[in-house]
Symmetry: C2
Subunit: 273 residues, 2 copies
Amino acid sequence: MKFFTENEPTSPINARYPVTRVLYRGRSKYQKILVFDSPFHGRVLALDDIVQLTTREEHFYHELLVHPILQAHAQPRNVLIIGGGDGGTMREVMKYPSIENAVQCELDQQVVAVAKEYFPKLAVGYKDKRAQLRFEDGEKLLRASGKLWDAIILDLTDPIGPAKPLFERPFYKLCAEHLAPDGFLSAQTESLHFHADTVKSVMRALRGLFKHIELVTVPLAMYPGNWWTFTVASRTLDPKIARNNFCPPTRVYSRDDHAWFFLPKGVREKVLA
Amino acid sequence: MKFFTENEPTSPINARYPVTRVLYRGRSKYQKILVFDSPFHGRVLALDDIVQLTTREEHFYHELLVHPILQAHAQPRNVLIIGGGDGGTMREVMKYPSIENAVQCELDQQVVAVAKEYFPKLAVGYKDKRAQLRFEDGEKLLRASGKLWDAIILDLTDPIGPAKPLFERPFYKLCAEHLAPDGFLSAQTESLHFHADTVKSVMRALRGLFKHIELVTVPLAMYPGNWWTFTVASRTLDPKIARNNFCPPTRVYSRDDHAWFFLPKGVREKVLA
């Protein structure tokens, strides 16, 4: 059996995965793409040697990026996803019958092609007529669109290279300006264990732009630092309250425990001290 | 820079730590002992090539093993610790002025000697007059003692080898019989991500012996599978309620959020499905 050793430049440890089979190895305009099978984790997608998902655990990430805000909104109709080329986020969004239109901006066409071939259970959402996939820059689309979105979801890679400006204040301001008054923003914002500085800098950058700023957290084993954060922000409504009458089937998110997924203030203050 | 690759036989991935300095490498009657420094994690203790603690994160483990039950008890006076040779658990117990007597049974004298030399901030509790450290078998002591404890804390290594019977029903029965009516049991019970079968088997083994059986969880990065569980059981009182008027200084446990550390039923059912 061979091994894949992850190389995440901002992680202090490296994870070593046993590899039973390499299914795809390529290079897009933007990044190296690798797909392999591993005995426990199932199928693994790595971009630039950084694990993006394992089929065993991807639902932890995708459910917690999406459901806290789509449950906080009474009836989300239009959603913008930036990033998320594997399709898992679109799949979760498409579970809601109230959604009329979900636009996804992904830069890397090849990641989507690889997901459609090797991760059919993730890329399934793209088949839905309400889903529009565009290979263009999310910031440009947001700037050009006169629309106010019910939800904006930032399913981005680590804040290094092209994704970096999308973790900063000017971009968050643009999001705030294009969010309906009862709309919500959800962004993956790295690990509380390994990237507390990123979490703090994102929260600082959002301050003043949104009334409510909260951290949704979930433990993952597939990312180094594992205690993953999704920063949720809203202009008017408290995201800790579930308002949606429809709750889709889920594997880890539980609407009965909606508020539990939000990191309590006392713990947040201790961990980010 | 050299690397230490963890070899945890029940873990599907291996973590690779950079090593700046090896401070101790030895072998006791029971196990291989290794102490090294790593840039991000600080000082690391590994037994049989399995990381037991890092100075950066050990408080996540020790605080959540100890405080949920010592806060649930109105005034804990006597505590039994089984395992826990590094001293972190005793340190947290000694923070409570109400404690009159804390007995710790650890088999490996050499682990304690190494902790005293290389982890002085953990082994500090042993200096307290109320702390009694005994190098003997915890099960034997429990069987011989006529005492009813306010808290029994099982700070054990993985359920392989000598620790295995201490994750099984006959031993839990012994604990239940030696716990005061308002007493609490707390046991480290592995990862929800990688060892869900262990968590389920422990919960099954406790059923019928205790009225309340709950999971305290906390995400750690220092153990593979990271979403760590502490199984808490009690004969009469609900552990989710904090009854102690004294709350010691902590770095992650927050008494204001006491109930949050207990995994909600809805999430537990989904994750252990």
